[in-house]
Point group: C2
Chain length 315, copies 2
């Protein structure tokens, strides 16, 4: 299989690239390196089966040419910053919605018909049902990020329905693991490294969130790609657990051996548009035989270790 | 009240403009006249309270200036062509999704916080529940038009949630009435005028559709604007009825006094992405006291009469 991976130098994208290469596939990685890091592809670039193209999907004229001969596209590139969406609403529109449209149009021109898309549980907004299934009541969007991913899903579905493509849409909870670069674990670890005696916590710490380890996430994607055969295949991806932000803080502090004072900013949301409760019903993907190997606590603790290792000075 | 109406020279937009003026409001009408017709604003332009600006919302630099002093925006401009979406997918993205984003950004700059949005029952795709309520199971999109309107709804919701706006989103069934310019009634009337002895019908004629008269539609919008006070207010708009395309054909033929041979193209859909059954649950808007004055049959027959009148040579 020859796959094109967008966002190849990002957290999830680079882990996916490594896995695809390990399984013997050929991979073209595309990234504009705006948030992706070339060092995440250090191992991949030693492979004969990998090629990297630095390109901005929003403005790249020859996207269809890049896709020549690819069997499918893993579209992982995105503005993944949920929190600051209100500061620059155009970013989610451009980097997510419009870029996804351009990827789909390039696929059509190049005759590539299968797309895997990294969507998000954020599109359920403040869900009315927990755990939230894929066919939950029609949600109201609460963030520009969620709105843009919803728009991407709609575009993919329209291309599948109207133009014969096949789509695999995965609605992720927060993903953790090696090369994780933003989110609460990295924020807390950064803070505690700088001042182990105190920790600023957005909201009241009672927000209930779900996490999944990146390797479990990739297992699920590859399994679904092999097993699901609808025109549009939509899967929630998460563990069957959730935790409070306070639980995660306790695990992180225990692992780091620190006992900080907790300074809560207050309120039941970390920021405008923060979902106070994310918990997805993942029985659809479990029905294909997938089980996550790591629970939330293990995923958090491993990520703390990965972050500590990544910060050691280079040899 | 001072309202800005986009798509002011269109079918629904121009009827809305006339109503707003009749109720004593000031109206700024904006239209690029790509499908809108200046003649639809003939009456409005005689009013001191009306001003018209020919502008393309996609490329207009000074949109925020146009909005100065407006109390709310009725965003009715759109590419309303569902059927040919697969021939030019970028059109729905640009004319609907991106234009809506630009309208919202201009509103933010101009300090206008209320938006009324013309959405569509098409966003329910092939619904799983009939009649379909606003909180139906999370739909899969089946047309570029539906996908683009879904994207617009998400954007409006994100602006409401994150940036303090208030949104009124109306998911229309097909709207009929004076100045109606595209859809099955105009298509059938055009055909029967040209060759009264035969009628080409897309699909098998068994598709079940819902229609609403434009004046009932406007009644509902203005009532909701007055009565609903959520941050995001979403309403289905339709009658509590549906009909088969064959029913509509019978009413049209009876009204025109013709007996054509019916040539069905076959299949249960008129075209790729055509919904074989549209029937919305409108109990939410009925809960505010709204009742349509015309049923589907009366709406169809009046539209046939309107079309016949519009085709009479000018005096």
């Amino acid at each position: 299989m020859k796959a094109l991976v967008t966002g190849a130098a990002g957290f999830i994208g680079s882990n996916l690239v490594d896995r695809l290469l390990a399984e013997g596939h050929a991979v073209i990685g595309v990234d504009n390196l705006s948030t992706g890091r070339l060092e995440f592809l250090e191992k991949a670039r030693q492979s004969q089966s990998f090629s990297f193209v630095r390109a901005d999907l929003l403005n790249h004229g020859g996207l269809a040419d890049l896709m020549g001969g690819a069997d499918l596209v893993f579209h992982m590139a995105a503005n993944a910053d949920v929190r600051f969406g209100t500061q620059h609403p155009h970013r989610d529109l451009e980097q997510n919605t419009i870029v996804t449209f351009k990827v789909l149009e390039a696929m059509r021109q190049a005759g590539v018909s299968r797309i895997v898309f990294a969507s998000t549980g954020s599109i359920y907004g403040e869900a009315a049902v927990f755990p939230t299934p894929e066919d939950a009541p029609f949600p109201v969007q609460t963030s520009f990020y969620g709105a843009s991913k919803l728009a991407c899903e709609g575009l993919i579905e329209a291309f599948c329905e109207g133009l014969g493509m096949t789509g695999y849409i995965f609605r992720f909870v927060s993903i953790l693991g090696e090369r994780y670069t933003h989110g609460h674990v990295v924020d807390f670890c950064d803070q505690l490294r700088e001042h182990p005696e105190r920790l600023r916590v957005l909201g009241d710490g009672r927000q209930r969130k779900s996490y999944l380890h990146v390797q479990d996430c990739i297992d699920a994607i590859l399994l679904a790609l092999d097993q699901a055969n609808g025109r549009v295949n939509i899967f929630n991806l998460g563990t069957d657990q959730y935790c409070e932000v306070n639980d995660s803080i306790a695990w992180i502090c225990e692992r780091l051996g620190v006992h900080p004072r907790l300074d809560y900013t207050g309120g039941d949301r970390g920021w405008v548009g923060d979902n106070p409760f994310i918990f997805l019903d993942c029985s659809r993907i479990r029905g294909l035989g997938w089980r996550p190997k790591l629970g939330i606590r293990e995923a958090v603790v491993r990520t703390v270790d990965d972050l500590a290792r990544a910060r050691l000075p280079a040899k």
